[in-house]
Symmetry: C2
């Protein structure tokens, strides 16, 4: 902490102009490379600005241009496990355009969200990214906002809105194909609550990949449960006790996969020799904590954030953007849990 804050005001264009012996307008042109100036004048101004430590006041510029060069981020995900990589990706796209991110976390509270929306609008943000946990749809912010909005990870319930999502179905299909490619034939699927769209999409991917290969899903269909290690362990016992033959399991999350893997090992089943296991999320602590490390489907959240920000920038630049859902492909990460013997 500075012991004596706000010691002196920041220099203005007028100060630089005085120091360089020119007018404020000339300073503006020199600093922004606009207009036609003599090389000598330009250098004189630049030198004066440098000497004074001049930094243009973005607030003043924003008032004039009507643009803040800030995008608002409205998130419901207080845990942040999904949000942070997404923001990192978004920042890459935005940073290149000199834009900053104003972060508002609504904690899933609609009142709070409405409040933050008002704040963002009052600050004249150039656009808004809405994000949150992916499990289900979320209410649209509405169609009549003065700035463009992109939904990332969390799908808007209004199809006119643009939602950028990961491709759950494709990711699941990749996982199952990988199990098949590594010689497994009797595949089981352990997943979360059947009501969630992510669970439905992943199941669709599983069924598609198995249908293409002409193989059935073992254990009379998917095992629905919750997103926890405990459920994974329980599912291992259920599979073993059911008497069904299986040599590969696709779990809809790394937590489930880790629990399942632990459960199998503790029952004397060898992963990957007897059963191959694949998870979803590429979540380091789960993936590396499991023994052996998990093959998993990476949701490419940074890429997703990058795409969302890129689409938002296009909309801010006035390019017409169509609503609907855009899906970013997932990526299979191979590790020991599906290694070939």
């Amino acid at each position: 902490m500075d012991s004596a804050p706000q010691k002196k005001k920041n220099p203005t264009v007028a100060d630089v102009a005085a120091a360089a012996g020119v007018s404020p307008g000339t300073v503006s042109k020199a600093l922004n490379g606009r207009g036609a100036l003599r090389q000598e004048t330009r250098e004189k101004v630049l030198a004066a600005a440098e000497a004074l430590g001049f930094q243009p006041n973005l607030v003043a510029r924003g008032l004039l241009t009507g643009r803040s060069y800030i995008v608002g981020v409205l998130t419901t995900d207080s845990i942040g496990r999904f949000t942070i990589p997404l923001l990192t990706g978004a920042e890459d796209a935005l940073g290149a355009g000199q834009m900053s991110m104003l972060l508002c976390e609504s904690r899933g509270d609609p009142i709070r969200e409405q409040h933050y929306l008002g704040v963002l609008l009052a600050r004249r943000v150039d656009g808004i990214i809405v994000t949150g946990r992916s499990s289900d749809r979320r209410p649209s912010l509405g169609r009549h906002l003065p700035v463009p909005v992109v939904y990332a990870l969390a799908q808007s319930d209004d199809p006119e809105d643009l939602s950028i999502l990961h491709d759950d179905e494709d990711g699941a299909a990749q996982a199952v194909r990988h199990l098949l490619d590594t010689g497994r034939r009797r595949i089981a699927h352990v997943t979360g609550p059947p009501s969630q769209v992510a669970v439905q999409h992943r199941l669709a991917g599983v069924e598609r990949a198995l249908a293409e290969a002409g193989e059935p899903l073992v254990a009379d269909g998917p095992l629905f449960g919750e997103w926890s290690e405990a459920w994974g362990r329980e599912a291992a016992q259920r599979l073993l006790r059911s008497g069904a033959e299986f040599d590969g399991v696709f779990c809809a999350s790394d937590q489930i996969a880790r629990g399942l893997s632990d459960g199998l090992r503790e029952s004397g089943v060898d992963v990957p020799r007897q059963v191959g296991v694949v998870g979803v999320d590429n979540w380091d602590v789960m993936v590396d904590g499991a023994r052996p490390p998990l093959t998993t489907v990476d949701l490419q959240l940074a890429e997703l954030g990058n795409v969302a920000a890129t689409r938002l920038l296009a909309a801010i630049d006035g390019k017409p953007v169509e609503g609907g859902v855009e899906r970013v492909p997932c990526r299979l990460i191979q590790r020991q849990s599906t290694a070939l013997a």
Copy 2:
């Protein structure tokens, strides 16, 4: 995404004034509750503003008042596991003062950090919170910034700066006292790399609590390693093979504690009946994934963020703030891993 963005400009005070049949100055007073206005006039203005959907332009206000009502957050922590709860706490304190947070993630790159610092200053943020993973000190942003700065979680290497940190030593002492209070006498300590300050502080707390109780640390001192479950499992084996008697282990992280707990169980040692285990972080996936769930030291990161933001607000309001380190107490969370038989 709005299919036709920026359809109409936001109404201004002038628009409201026209609609209400008064002057812009009157509108300002009515909206901000300043000055002396007739009740009737005030209501007329409020009604007009409401009808037009007027939202004051904070950019313009900021230009005039010289305050942006934004604090910059400079973080090096790309994982975000620590940063997010901290930001949540900070937002509580800032939101009450109508301030927003501009988020900049430097990913540990000093060039990037310097760049972001420039951006924040150009945007005339009212203050800056610097944060990052806690393991070690970080370089100061410098003393001659035009706005106050508070370091949270990551200590500045300049003692003139104000750093808000969790109290590692106290947390460790609480953990050890709890093991002693639940009847354990022979306590071991499994921790991270000896070079890290967090490791040193936690060790100091362990030694203090043991000294007060007149008990020695078993196994000839702490077991140093890395912050991983694998190290926790290995430490379990080392302790068992060393032949040392022990009935309580304080681990310097939940990951280590979970690994250790797994290692003990797999070697037939019952937690908590034979050995009590305590971790640090209160990290849900580790704490709930362990069998049984872990007693742990919560770092109170939200509280830490709240304190940091509160101190920053005080400094922004011109109250003199002393540099140095302020420590926020930790909180012990009791679960099954130390339950009494």
